[in-house]
C-alpha cells in the first residue's frame, strides 16, 4: 500500500489553522470597527442632560433621548411579557409532547417560516391589523410586532434546551409519582433553567434593536411615552433613523450617533452579563 506523504498532511493542517485564524480576525476586526465608529461619532453627544431630557422637535436647541430610552424599554418589556409565556409553553409542547403528531409538525414548520420572515413584514402586518383599525400608532402595537418576532426564537431555544435534558431525569421524576406537568415544570425546566434564561435574554437583546417594525407601529414622538396604548411612542431605533438620515442639523446627527452608542452599549452589556452569569452557574452544576 502506498503511504500518503506526511508533507501534504502537515501542509493541509497548517492551511486550515491559518484559515480559521484569519476568519476569526476578520470577524473581530469588523466588530471593533463598528464599536470604534460608534464611540468616536457618538461620544460628543453623550452627557448627563442627554440621558435626562426629552427629545425636542426639529430645530429646537438642546434636548436628549430620555423619552426614547424610556419608550424603548417600555416597548421591549411589554413585548417580552406578551411573548415569553406562550413561547415557553409552546417550546415545552414541542419538546415534551412529541406524540401530539400533526400539531407539533405544523407548529415547528410555522416557527421556521416566521423566523425567516423579514421584520419589516411583521411591522406591516401589525400596522394592518392593529394600527389601521384602531386609528393610531402606539407603543403597544410596537410591542406586539416585537413579540411576534420573539415568539419563534424563544420557542425554538426552549425546545432545544429541554431536548438536552436527559430522559432519565424525566423518568425518575415520574417514577416518584409526579404528574407529567409537575415533572416538566419543576424538574425538567429547572434543570434547563440557565439555557432557557439565556435564550430569552438573547431574544430580548435581539429584538431591542429592531427598527423596521417600529416605523409602522410606534412611529416617534418628542413627548414622554405617557400614552403607551394610544399614541405614537418615542423609541431609540426610530430616533436614530430619523436623526441620522432625515435631519438637516449637524447637532442631531451627533445625537443620533450618541443614541447608537447607548443602544450598542446596552445590547453589548446584556450579552456579556448573560454569558458571564450563566457560564459560572453552568460550571457549578
Amino acid at each position: 500500500m502506498k503511504k500518503k506523504t506526511l508533507f501534504w498532511r502537515k501542509l493541509n493542517d497548517r492551511f486550515h489553522t491559518l484559515f480559521s485564524a484569519a476568519s476569526v480576525f476578520i470577524a473581530v476586526t469588523g466588530m471593533i470597527l463598528v464599536l470604534y465608529t460608534v464611540v468616536i461619532r457618538g461620544m460628543d453627544a453623550v452627557s448627563l442632560d442627554f440621558f435626562l431630557n426629552s427629545s425636542r422637535p426639529y430645530g429646537v436647541e438642546g434636548g436628549g433621548i430620555a423619552n426614547a430610552i424610556l419608550g424603548s424599554v417600555m416597548i421591549t418589556v411589554f413585548a417580552a411579557v406578551l411573548a415569553i409565556p406562550p413561547a415557553v409553553l409552546a417550546g415545552i409542547f414541542l419538546s415534551e409532547y412529541p406524540d401530539a403528531g400533526r400539531a407539533v409538525a405544523v407548529l415547528r414548520f410555522a416557527a421556521n417560516v416566521m423566523m425567516g420572515v423579514p421584520s419589516v413584514l411583521v411591522g406591516l402586518f401589525v400596522y394592518v391589523i392593529i394600527v389601521v383599525p384602531s386609528g393610531h400608532f402606539s407603543g403597544f402595537a410596537a410591542s406586539v410586532s416585537l413579540a411576534v418576532i420573539m415568539f419563534p426564537l424563544i420557542m425554538r431555544t426552549t425546545e432545544d434546551m429541554l431536548g438536552m435534558v436527559p430522559n432519565s431525569l424525566r423518568e425518575s421524576s415520574l417514577a416518584l409519582g409526579m404528574t407529567k406537568m409537575r415533572s416538566i415544570l419543576c424538574i425538567v425546566c429547572r434543570s434547563a433553567r440557565n439555557g432557557l434564561l439565556t435564550g430569552i435574554l438573547l431574544a430580548v437583546a435581539r429584538v431591542s434593536g429592531e427598527t423596521a417594525p417600529l416605523l409602522f407601529t410606534a412611529m416617534f414622538a418628542d413627548a414622554w411615552p405617557s400614552d403607551f396604548f394610544t399614541r405614537p411612542t418615542a423609541n431609540m431605533p426610530v430616533l436614530i433613523t430619523e436623526y441620522t438620515t432625515n435631519s438637516p442639523f449637524a447637532e442631531m446627527h451627533t445625537a443620533g450617533w450618541g443614541a447608537s452608542l447607548v443602544i450598542t452599549a446596552a445590547v453589548l452589556a446584556v450579552n456579556i452579563v448573560t454569558r458571564i452569569v450563566f457560564r459560572e452557574k453552568n460550571n457549578a452544576g
Binding site: 406524540d99 436527559p166 432519565s168 431525569l169 424525566r170 423518568e171 425518575s172 421524576s173 415520574l174 417514577a175 416518584l176 409519582g177 409526579m178 404528574t179 409537575r182 424538574i187 429547572r190 434543570s191 433553567r193 457549578a284 452544576g285
Partner: protein, 251 residues
C-alpha cells in the same frame, strides 16, 4: 404466604417487536430478587412494567397480569401516582434533581404527604440515614445534589426513593456506573433495605447477584428460563443455558 408481586403471563411489545414472552414470576416479600441475563434479554423491559413507567412511550404495550398484593395493577383502575409511590425505582445513572440535597429528599415527602416543616426535616434525616449517606452530607444539606460524587448521588437517589415510603424498590443496574468501593457501600445498603422493603435488582455482575440476592431469575431472549433461590441457581442450575451463562460461557 402470598407473593408481594406476581407476574402472570406477561408479554411485552415495542411496536411490532415482542420483547417479553409469557413471563411468570413471583417475588417474595422482604427479599432481594436478582434479575440476570445477557444484554438485550429483556431485564429492564420486565422491570419497567412494575411501575408502568413504559407508558411514557406511546408504542409500548403489555399484556398479562401483574399482581401487587394480589391486585392487578395493569388495569385501568390503578391510580398510577399512588402505584409509583408504592413502587420506587433506581436507575443506572444517578438522577439527582437540580436542587439541594435536602430538597431532593424532601421532594417526594412534600409530594405525597401532608407534613409540617419539622416532620419533613426529621424524615429527610431518617431517609438519608437509611441510605447510609447521612454522615457524608449532613454538613452540606443545602448544597446542590449535583455536586456530590457518583456513588453519593446514587445513594441520594435511594434516599429519595425511600422517603416516599415505598413497599418495593426496583433497581436497574444501580452500580454499573459506579466505582467498586461505592458499589460495596450500596450492596451493604441493599441488604439493610431488605428488612423494610422488597427489592428487585437487575445486574450484570454475577458475584453481586450471588452475594446479595435471595432469589435469582435468569432471562434469555425475553423468556424467564430459570427462577429459583440464588444458591440453587449458582450451584446447581437446572438448565444448561443458565449454567453456561453463570459460568461465563456466553452473554
Amino acid at each position: 404466604m402470598q407473593a408481594k408481586i406476581e407476574a402472570r403471563d406477561i408479554c411485552f411489545y415495542y411496536g411490532d417487536h415482542q420483547a417479553l414472552f409469557n413471563n411468570f414470576l413471583s417475588v417474595e416479600k422482604n427479599k432481594i430478587t436478582a434479575v440476570i441475563g445477557p444484554s438485550g434479554c429483556g431485564k429492564s423491559t420486565h422491570l419497567r412494567i412494575y411501575n408502568r413507567i413504559f407508558e411514557l412511550y406511546r408504542n409500548q404495550r403489555v399484556t398479562g397480569k401483574l399482581l401487587l398484593d394480589g391486585v392487578d395493577i395493569l388495569g385501568p383502575d390503578t391510580d398510577i401516582l399512588e402505584l409509583r409511590r408504592r413502587i420506587g425505582m433506581i436507575f443506572q445513572k444517578p438522577t439527582p434533581f437540580p436542587m439541594s440535597v435536602f430538597d431532593n429528599v424532601a421532594y417526594p415527602l412534600r409530594l405525597h404527604f401532608k407534613l409540617s416543616r419539622s416532620e419533613i426535616a426529621d424524615r429527610v434525616e431518617d431517609a438519608l440515614k437509611s441510605a447510609s449517606i447521612w454522615d457524608e452530607v449532613k454538613d452540606k444539606l443545602s448544597s446542590s445534589g449535583l455536586a456530590l460524587s457518583g456513588g453519593q448521588q446514587q445513594r441520594l437517589c435511594i434516599a429519595r426513593a425511600i422517603a416516599a415510603e415505598p413497599e418495593v424498590i426496583l433497581m436497574d443496574e444501580p452500580t454499573s456506573a459506579i466505582d467498586p468501593v461505592a458499589t460495596l457501600k450500596i450492596e451493604e445498603l441493599m441488604v439493610e433495605l431488605r428488612k423494610r422493603f422488597t427489592v428487585m435488582i437487575v445486574t450484570h455482575n454475577m458475584q453481586q447477584a450471588a452475594r446479595i440476592s435471595d432469589y435469582t431469575a435468569f432471562f434469555h431472549k425475553g423468556e424467564i428460563v430459570e427462577y429459583n433461590d440464588t444458591k440453587t441457581i449458582f450451584t446447581n442450575p437446572k438448565c444448561k443455558k443458565t449454567e453456561d451463562y453463570i459460568t461465563g460461557r456466553f452473554g
